[in-house]
């Protein structure tokens, strides 16, 4: 019979029979599981590139997009056409009276010009592009109508790499990838293991629960390098997006972001028993941040009252910190607020997840 072990210290040196430390083995297991799923690789590396290309096409890096103006076909609008066709900032489309509302709604045209004296503009002032179109059209028509110009301002047209939409977008898309990969991969792997009763089996072993929860976060780090570097290198080469911050600072922010979203992923997956429940929770977590956190348009579009909430969101913090270090060359001290917010989003959900995690 074996000697009874009292207390928590093992007798003699620990031997793991050829295995590494449990945290290393748990992390390796996650990594192996991940690289053996080809779809996961696609989403991690190619999705940000595809999205960047799509954005670059939709929002050209240089020059301005002409406004699209709808004009009724027919001889009545011929003078209008002539007046408008002089401006290279205007594209004219034929839109019949019956089709006007649909064309405006779908963004096919930004503004309809009705031929009358004086002409009427039909547009939705809540749409920024429509307001721009109104100004451009108004100026073109008045100039054609012989309006005297009191003076003409000198225009300094600039296209500085770093201030274009695509440049502004790239750090946010990388952040979005960090969020999605963290929450979805960790959330789904957790629910899978719960459904397969693997979590219950692990809980029956001496495995430390905190190590099990740390492993997916560590395994995320291995792929974080390429996940950030591949799209960043792509846009730097293809669009000349400047990378002004140091690689070390960018890496530090990426790691912190991966930890924060890994931790949130664990919390989201801590109790869900079905994929449907988990998907619902993950969508409820991520979709509002897609909208609120200033990924595709500035979060300052939202009212001041909700700004404190928006600024406290982890994706807002990550996007702002990424833009800061990549586009402005900010130091870590310069994005200190964002670092504090991301650290809180790493610690708090992890501690809660550890407490409420369901192992069966």
């Amino acid at each position: 019979m074996r000697k009874t072990v009292k207390g928590s210290d093992p007798v003699g040196p620990v031997s793991r029979g050829g295995a590494f430390h449990p945290l290393v083995e748990l992390t390796l297991a996650r990594l192996r599981e991940f690289v053996r799923e080809p779809e996961a690789i696609f989403w991690t590396f190619f999705f940000p590139i595809v999205l960047s290309i799509a954005m670059a096409i939709a929002f050209p890096a240089s020059g301005s997009t002409p406004v699209r103006v709808g004009v009724e076909p027919g001889p009545a609008s011929e003078p209008l056409r002539q007046a408008l066709s002089g401006s290279k900032d205007i594209t004219i489309r034929d839109v019949s009276a019956a089709d006007e509302l649909r064309a405006l709604r779908d963004g096919e045209v930004h503004l309809i010009v009705v031929p009358s004296t004086p002409p009427a503009y039909r547009f939705d002032p809540a749409r920024e592009e429509s307001r721009v179109a109104r100004l451009v059209v108004d100026e073109a028509l008045k100039r054609a109508g012989g309006r005297p110009e009191p003076w003409t301002a000198r225009e300094d047209r600039i296209a500085v790499p770093g201030s274009r939409y695509v440049d502004w977008l790239v750090p946010a898309i990388i952040s979005l990838g960090i969020m999605n990969n963290g929450i979805w991969s960790i959330g789904f792997m957790t629910v899978t293991a719960r459904l397969r009763k693997l979590l219950k089996r692990l809980a029956a072993s001496p495995m430390k629960k905190s190590e099990f929860l740390m492993a997916p976060m560590l395994s995320r780090l291995v792929f974080l390098g390429p996940e950030v570097a591949v799209p960043l290198a792509f846009v730097a080469i293809a669009f000349g997006t400047p990378i002004r911050g140091s690689i070390v600072n960018i890496a530090a922010i990426a790691v912190l972001g991966a930890f924060a979203f890994g931790s949130i992923g664990l919390l989201v997956g801590s109790r869900a028993r079905t994929f449907e429940a988990a998907s619902g929770l993950m969508n409820a977590t991520t979709v509002p941040m897609w909208v609120l956190s200033g990924v595709f348009f500035s979060s300052s579009n939202f009212p001041d009252a909700v700004q404190p909430v928006i600024q406290a969101l982890p994706l807002t913090a990550l996007v702002d910190a990424m833009r800061g270090v990549i586009l402005e060359g900010a130091t870590l001290a310069g994005v200190w607020d964002e670092i504090a917010i991301l650290s809180a989003w790493t610690l708090v959900p992890f501690v809660i997840a550890l407490r409420i995690f369901k192992w069966r």
Binding site: M1, R2, T4, V5, K6, S8, P10, G12, V14, S15, R16, G17, G18, A19, F20, H21, P22, V24, E25, L26, L28, A29, R32, E33, R36, E37, A193, R196, K197, L198, K200, R201, A203, A204, S205, P206, M207, R360
Partner: protein, 248 residues
């Protein structure tokens, strides 16, 4: 007497359903003890309470002389546990799965020794998803044996296996027992209990209705049979409850 498991007046209910209803049993060191009974008799609930995975509503449990509320860490290091229905990660290999579990234990066998005990050396680089049912169960037992346990819990380890795969698993258990370990096994195969167990408890409706060595139970309880055929534990169950163990 030195006991591997001592449990007294165990009770557990799920809502209105009483799963375990005042169950008591002792498992001696070095013996193989079988919990027998039909599906729904409370075997799995009982073994999960003994494994420290479920909290009982009432009763006392001591495993290897320890209580779960005070010595969970020590117990986890010294128990081997195989659960019903565990599915290991599909795309990890046999060796990787055993390595993972081995890493949790402070002492125990090497990965090569474990592969050889469960006869999976030839499958060491196969993904779990490619294994047969019997191979998966042997992997599950290997993961239970990684820490060189003093006591092994097995919950219906051979359910759904073909006769050859069952016999292979019995051989694995024989090797473990030869090294002096104790076993608590649940099964609804009577022949399995007769081959493996030193003593069995027959469980029905959450309580023990008979206990003893398979041979004694058969002698005392099995209905008289045609002379050429010996009684079985199946007959014991029949004479105790008037029902068959399985409805097939």
């Amino acid at each position: 007497m030195d006991l591997a498991v001592r449990c007294h007046d165990l009770r557990k209910r799920y809502g209105d359903v009483v799963a375990v209803d005042g169950l008591s049993l002792d498992v001696r060191r070095g013996e193989c003890f079988g919990l027998l009974g039909p599906n729904g008799a409370g075997k799995t609930t009982t073994i999960e309470i003994l494994e420290g995975l479920l909290a009982p509503d009432g009763g006392e449990v001591e495993v290897l002389g320890f209580r779960w509320d005070t010595h969970e860490r020590e117990l986890r290091q010294r128990l081997g546990i195989q659960l019903q229905e565990t599915q290991f990660t599909d795309k990890l290999t046999v060796e990787e799965t055993i390595r993972l579990f081995r890493s949790f234990y402070d002492r125990g066998k090497t990965i090569d020794e474990l592969l050889s005990i469960v006869e999976l050396e030839s499958k060491r680089r196969s993904w779990v998803v490619k294994l047969s049912g019997g191979q998966r169960q042997r992997l599950s037992v290997a993961c239970a044996l990684v820490g060189d346990p003093d006591l092994l819990f097995l919950d219906e380890p051979t359910t759904g296996l073909d006769p050859q795969a069952r016999r292979q698993l019995w051989e694995v258990l024989g090797r473990y027992r030869a090294s002096g370990g104790s076993v608590l096994i649940t099964t609804h195969y009577m022949d399995e209990a007769q081959v493996l167990c030193d003593r069995v408890a027959i469980v029905d409706h959450g309580r023990v209705i008979a206990e003893g060595s398979p041979k004694d139970l058969i002698t005392s309880l099995a209905a008289p049979k045609v002379i050429v055929q010996e009684g079985t534990l199946e007959d014991v169950f029949m004479s105790l409850t008037g029902r068959h163990l399985r409805d097939d």
